[in-house]
Every structure is written in C-alpha cells, then in structure tokens.
Symmetry: C2
Subunit: 362 residues, 2 copies
C-alpha cells in the first residue's frame, strides 16, 4: 500500500510525468471551460479538432519533423503498426528486408511474411540479441520495398547507435521504446512508427511518421483502419481515433518542451543511464548482458549470479517502492526501464537499493 | 465558457457519467494505493490483470452473457471490428448477408466486400433509412457464413425492435450505439460487437462477444490484432490493449450496477426518449424523420421547416449549454443522442429549450 507515487520501471505501459497526470486530473470533468471532459468530446467537434491539430503541431515541432512527412495516429499499437507497414509498403508480390535484433523486430518480420517475401538482413539471435550488427554486415536484397529495423530493443536492452541505410530504399524504424527520448534526424527515414505506451501516452494507439515520397502500394484486402491512403485522406480519422490518449500525448509534449526539448531530454536520459551503467560496471555482483557498445539508454538489463537471487531482488525492490523490475522471460534477471518520465531520483533510489542489496547478499 | 458541466448530446464520443469521471480523477495519480496511475500499469502486471478480469466479469454479469461466449477487447473501434468480423467469419471464398439500415451497416458491408461475396439482404436507402425492414422481407442467401445488421442507427435515429433470424446461420450485430442501454438476449447472437465511445468508455477499443460455437475461419492475411483465434488464445492481449480505456468501462459498469442494472437502465432510457418523442409529436414546428415504429431510444433526430432555422437552433442551443445537437449531414436538422450517461435533467432542459425556441420562432 503506497500513499505516495512510487518509481515504476515497467517496460510499457510505463510511467507518465506526474505533472501530466496532475493536469489531466484537473481537467478531467471540465476541460478548459468547455463544460465537458476530453473523453466526452466528439472527434468531429471544433474543440477536439483544435486539440488534435495542436498535438500534431507539437509533435512536429518537438521532433523537428519536416513538412514532407505525414503524421498519422493509428489504432492498434506497434503490432497494428507493423502489420500496416507491410500491408501498405511491401506491394503485390513484393519483398522487404528485416533486421532482427530482438523480439518486436522478430514479430514484425513474422507478421510481414503474410504480405510478401521477407528477407532477414541480419539476425542477432546467435548471441541472444546482446548486440547490434554493423552496416557492412546487413544482407540487403535487390528490389526490396523497404528495410525494417527496431531502433531500441525493449526486452534485450540494446539500441542502434546509427541509422542503417539501404541504398535509397526507404528505411522503416520501430521506435516504440525510444521515440521522444533524443533528437532524431527524421529525414533519414521513410517511416518511423511507435506504440504510444512507453514515452508518449496511455496505450491504445500508434504514431506513424511517413515520408510523402515513399510509394504507397496498399494491398487490396487491407482493412480501412490500417490503410495509409485512407488515414492520410481522412487526417487519421476514417473512424474515431483514441481521442483522449492523443490528448495526453499533447500534455507530454508540453512537458518535454518546458524541460527544454529533445536535446535536453536526451541529456537527462544519458545521465540517468550513465549512473546505472557505471554502477553495474563497478559491481561484481551484477552482470549486464547487453554488449557495452549496444547498450540502450531506455531499458537497462542486469542479473545477479542466479535466478533465486534475481527473484529475491525483484520481490524486495517492489516492497521498497521500485516496481516492475522483473526482466522479460526471454532474458531473465532484471530490467529497469527508465523512460523520459522516470525522474533522476528514481534511478538514484534504484542504485541505492542495488548497492544495499549487494552488501546484504554478497 | 462553462464553469459547470454542460449537457452534451454528441453521437460519440459522448457523455460519461459524472460519477465515473470523478472516480477516475480521484484515482488518476495513485490508483488504490498502488502508487501509480492505471495509465502507467504494465498490462502484464498482477494489479492490471485484476482490473482487466474484473471488467470482463462485470460485463458478463451486467449483460448476462452466457459462459459459452468469449469476451474480447479489440483495437480499432467499430470500423476495426467490422473488418475483423469478415476476416474471421466469412471464410475463404465465403459469402455473407448484410442488412443496410444506415451508414455504419453500409460501411460494414463495403468493408466486407474485400473479403468475400456480400449479399445485401435489404437496404432501406429507398426512404433515406427512416425505417427497419420486417423479417419476412430479408433476402437471405443459401450458404451465407453469417447475417450482419446494425441494431441502432446512430445517424438516422432508428433501431431494430426485434432480433432477425437467419435459419441457424450466426447473427452478427453491431451494437455500438445501443450496447448497455437495455437487456439483450445474448444467446440469440453469434457475435455482438460495439465500439467503446458511446455507452461504454473513451474511444479506442471495441468489445466483441463471440459465441464459442461460431466457426472461426480466419483468412491467412488477417493482421494479428484483428485475428479472433489470437485474441481468444491471448485473452485479448496479443499486444497491449487500451488499458486505461478498458478500466473506465469497469467504472461505467459499476455505475450501471449501482443504478439497478440494465432493466433499470432501459426504463430510464425509455422515459428520457418518451419525453422527447412526446414533445416532438405534440409540436407542429418540429418534424421527426424516423418512422414511429422504428424510433431509436438513443439517437433522436428532428428538424424544423428549413435549414436556416435548424442552424439557428444549433447555435442557440449550444450557447445555452446544450452541446452537439447538429444532425449528421446525411440527414440534416438536429440529433439528440441521449445515451446512458445523459441525465433526465438534460432531456428536460432540451425540451424546455425546444419549446421556447418554437415560441420565439414560430
């Protein structure tokens, strides 16, 4: 039983800034003297349209998205989004290159196989996804419609430190667990997509940022809600979008802007991760499975020497108000997801706990 | 500028009970001493699983859903849901019967054409969807996989007063704008589905209530998020569902239970509609386009003698705190959506306004 808010290291859905939740709570019954909650607004109303357009504008500004890119709000999270990538971009009898560096990139490739020929350009499964391949090792296919990769691997705690290229073929990136964590040169991408529930908003939608020059080759059986042409034509509203969840994204973007934008956000995130990694590197009690040069700034994986000790760590940390530190079953051990909303104090508390736990159990 | 909550007659997203919003607001930063918002909970966590299972149980109880039915929470609203109906039930080279009584049933039929042969069993377009066909007039097809109809036509203000049958073929009903408004004999249906944003919760998901005996014949290219077998196997969580929105549905179901369940809810809804229809029938200033025997209890359409007067009505009613009374462009005039959360006082205020408007403009 916690009277105060705790530090929640969940991989997603995950922490939201307290300031955002306070704003949302204050506005819940009557938003901006409209006499209604944002939850209750018609998506076709003037007042909601203003919110919706402002969220798009804020996202464009915060991420510095060029005007040559569409911003789409799609149903279905990243799993809906990676289906829509293939259904709209691979084309009839088409093919695409997928790099597998973790679980979601594997799922994305497996879903894409329903829609065309999938070439695995690289697979880091040989070392349980503890590393990221080099550009020179990617096996690209002649005539591929796009190259797909996942920029940050939530489960394995690795991240790409460069944007791969594919000789002019559009590069598609799943940024679900790193979007808004640092500045990104959007112009390098054909498409960026991300599920909402890590760095953006409550679960229930995905953002797609699509270069207007990427050829859209929608397959005939693509459902309306996953059809890019439909989404573009109807400004993400062929049907009712996740109106309230999108409004929360607007509040999160305001919060990022007030902090100093993505440059400052990245600095804070690097500082948080550094404290944790420095501690891990200084300890002989904890092991950090991800290779150093591939370490994620968002998801930090670590283990003790055995599973019993890991279980003890998870249990005791939860009781101390450090929630959801259990690692994914594919990796085991622990995982601290330190997305934007995790304050520095949360990381400091975690390191303090880890240190005490080490001393008590060494 | 409204300091108090107003009466919002939006067709969807629409009003939520004030008690629900108050509860949500109080819990927003720290749900039940967990130290976190429901928005921030991992969908795989114990605490969220308890919420999720309880919402399913409450829905089963409130709607009296037999144990032979799955309850699924799907992404993508009703537009996602009607695509999934066809992708999972029509079957390879299959066919299905669709009754068109309004805009959404038309959209559903048009989407289904991507997946199989669609027979239009009846179309009320001849009289701009002001009526509901009789059972004997439905042209059913031999070998159809299912019969699809929309129980309440949001735009046209009509509703089916009986459940059509199709000689043992599963009956599929879109109940987006009438679910939870009255008791329903679920056992008559192969499948009931509904978008959340009218009588259930904030927009962003759909509920599907599926008879376990209905043959699932999922087409090979069905995306994971629309695949019934996947949804059943993973208990609606092949990926992160709209966790927060589903939690709000739980609060709405509590509110219905406290009122006295669906029998009482239906009584209140009938009373509200009666006041409006009685007034319309007593007036020579307003016209009610829907045929009397087909009138919806949820969406009540009416017009004055001309468009200028309609526009004046919409403008002046909005200023008086009666929001979103503009009718859909396919019908024109006005529409009062009086879903569960619209209190009797809202309807009384509307009738009072209509009466004054009539006297001022007659």
């Amino acid at each position: 039983m916690f009277k105060e808010r705790i530090y929640n290291f969940s991989a997603g859905p995950s922490m939201l800034p307290a300031a955002v939740l306070e704003r949302a709570s204050a506005d819940l019954l009557n938003y901006n003297a409209t006499g209604m909650s944002v939850m209750e607004m018609s998506h076709r109303s003037k007042v909601y349209d203003e919110i919706f357009q402002s969220v798009k504008e804020k996202l464009r500004k915060v991420m510095n998205i060029p005007s040559g890119y569409h911003i789409l709000f799609m149903h279905g999270g990243a799993t809906g989004a990676f289906a829509s990538v293939a259904m709209n971009l691979i084309g009839e009898n088409g093919k695409a290159d997928y790099v597998i560096t973790g679980n979601f990139s594997k799922n994305a490739a497996s879903e894409a196989k329903k829609y065309g020929a999938v070439n695995i350009a690289y697979d880091t499964a040989d070392k349980n996804h503890t590393y990221i391949p080099e550009q020179k090792d990617l096996k690209l296919t002649q005539g591929a419609s796009y190259l797909h990769y996942c920029a940050n691997n939530t489960i394995f705690g690795t991240a790409w430190k460069y944007v791969p290229t594919a000789g002019g073929v559009p590069v598609v990136s799943d940024m679900s667990s790193c979007i808004l964590s640092e500045p990104v040169d959007v112009s390098k991408f054909g498409l960026i997509y991300a599920g909402a529930q890590k760095n953006m908003a409550p679960a229930g939608f995905a953002v797609a940022i699509l270069n207007k020059d990427v050829p859209i080759k929608t397959l005939g059986y693509t459902p309306k809600i996953l059809d890019y042409n439909m989404m573009i034509k109807e400004d993400s509203m062929p049907n009712t979008p996740s109106t309230y969840n999108i409004y929360i994204l607007g509040l999160v973007l305001d919060w990022i802007q007030e902090l100093g934008g993505l440059t400052k956000m990245a600095e804070i995130n690097r500082d948080k991760a550094k404290i944790l990694y420095n501690y891990l590197d200084s300890s002989e009690f904890y092991i950090s499975p991800a290779q150093k040069e591939a370490r994620s700034v968002m998801n930090i994986t670590f283990k003790t020497a055995n599973e019993e000790m890991d279980a003890k760590f998870v249990k005791e940390s939860a009781a101390a108000g450090l929630a959801n530190l259990k690692g994914h079953r594919l990796v085991g051990g622990m995982r601290a997801s330190v997305y934007n909303a995790m304050p520095m104090e949360g990381v400091a508390k975690l390191v303090e706990f880890m240190d005490k736990f080490e001393r008590d159990n060494r």
